[in-house]
Amino acid sequence: MRIWLIIAGAGIVTYLTRASFIVLGDRVTLPPIAERSLSYVAPAAFAAISVPLILGGDGFAGFNEDVPRILAATAAGAVVWKTRNIPLSLLAGMCTLWSLTWLL
């Protein structure tokens, strides 16, 4: 029962976070610089999530683990940049990672 309550509590908190501005609407006003900055939530958030995971999510793991990850992410990044295709970049990244891990 305890685990259900904890997960439900975490779920309610998460929902309230997502609902906050959408439900409150124009009852909350933000300063102009914050409004302007909202156009840049997506690049800031997605970069802040991906880059630390690529450069050793759990601290630098050492040459043999970091180098394949960085090169694999570079390959995936190049593919998604050129093709705008995320499944294809996943394929490129995973294949690069597997071959480099096998080689090193």
Binding site: T14, V23, L38, F46, I86
Partner: protein, 241 residues
């Protein structure tokens, strides 16, 4: 805000299908992640149904991962809930970014929609309707289509991980699908120079701040990154005028 009762919001099958079609490629890398998450439920000996239910109760991969690991470590309820809140606090910024676009839509949608506001649905909802068809009706059904696609794929992949996750071996490094997904979302979201500034600042602050407790480094990185983007935009427009 009141909704004018005369706008047409009847079901738009085309919009929903476009939303789904645009979201499915973004969901594919989430499948191995969901699978690994389910595997953790199994390996840590957490109750299977409760562990899987985090997928529809919380519905946010990285915070579910943190919550399940903390549960397995015997952390207190307060620590777990605060951690999930911090990891998901970026969703408040997604909410703020979508506010004006959702403002003309009825209250029921503004209550139901945010449940589906996760990284992938935000990524498609923030740009696509503006380009394809910016009417409220299209936007609403496009978002619900995107949400339905990402939601159902997530429930299925986590369930699969809970049930048959032990076929996955660690050396397959399936977790690497997560940074590849977010790298792709980042590339999609950089549309101009200030966007690139936001990404660089976000990445650097996240790297420097990753030892900060319970994901607060990530939150700081997003706030500073978006502020840097906003300041860069202001500087550029001042210079050109």
């Amino acid at each position: 805000m009141t909704t004018p009762s005369n706008i047409d919001l009847s079901f738009d099958r085309n919009a929903a299908l476009i939303g789904m079609r645009q979201t499915i490629p973004l969901v594919i890398p989430g499948v191995p992640f969901g699978f690994v998450l389910g595997l953790i439920v199994q390996e840590e000996g957490l109750p299977k149904l409760a562990g899987w239910s985090s997928s529809w109760l919380i519905f946010a991969g990285s915070s579910q991962l943190a919550a399940l690991n903390l549960l397995a470590d015997g952390a207190s309820a307060a620590v777990i809930i605060v951690s999930v809140f911090l990891i998901n606090s970026r969703h408040a910024m997604y909410s703020a970014a979508m506010r004006d676009r959702f403002a003309p839509l009825p209250l029921w949608f503004r209550l139901v929609g945010p449940y589906f506001l996760i990284d992938q649905s935000f990524a498609v909802a923030e740009t696509s309707p503006d380009l394809v068809d910016p009417t409220p009706r299209f936007r609403m059904w496009h978002f619900l289509g995107a949400g339905a696609a990402v939601w159902s794929m997530w429930q299925i992949s986590v369930a699969a991980g809970v049930l048959i996750g032990n076929v996955v071996r660690e050396e397959w490094a399936l977790n690497f699908a997560v940074p590849i997904l977010f790298l792709g979302l980042m590339v999609f979201s950089i549309k101009n120079k200030p966007g690139a500034v936001a990404a660089v600042v976000g990445a650097v602050v996240a790297l420097v701040g990753r030892e900060l407790p319970q994901g607060s480094g990530l939150l700081l990185a997003i706030i500073l990154g978006m502020a840097a983007g906003g300041i860069a935009e202001a500087q550029l427009s001042r210079r050109s005028s």
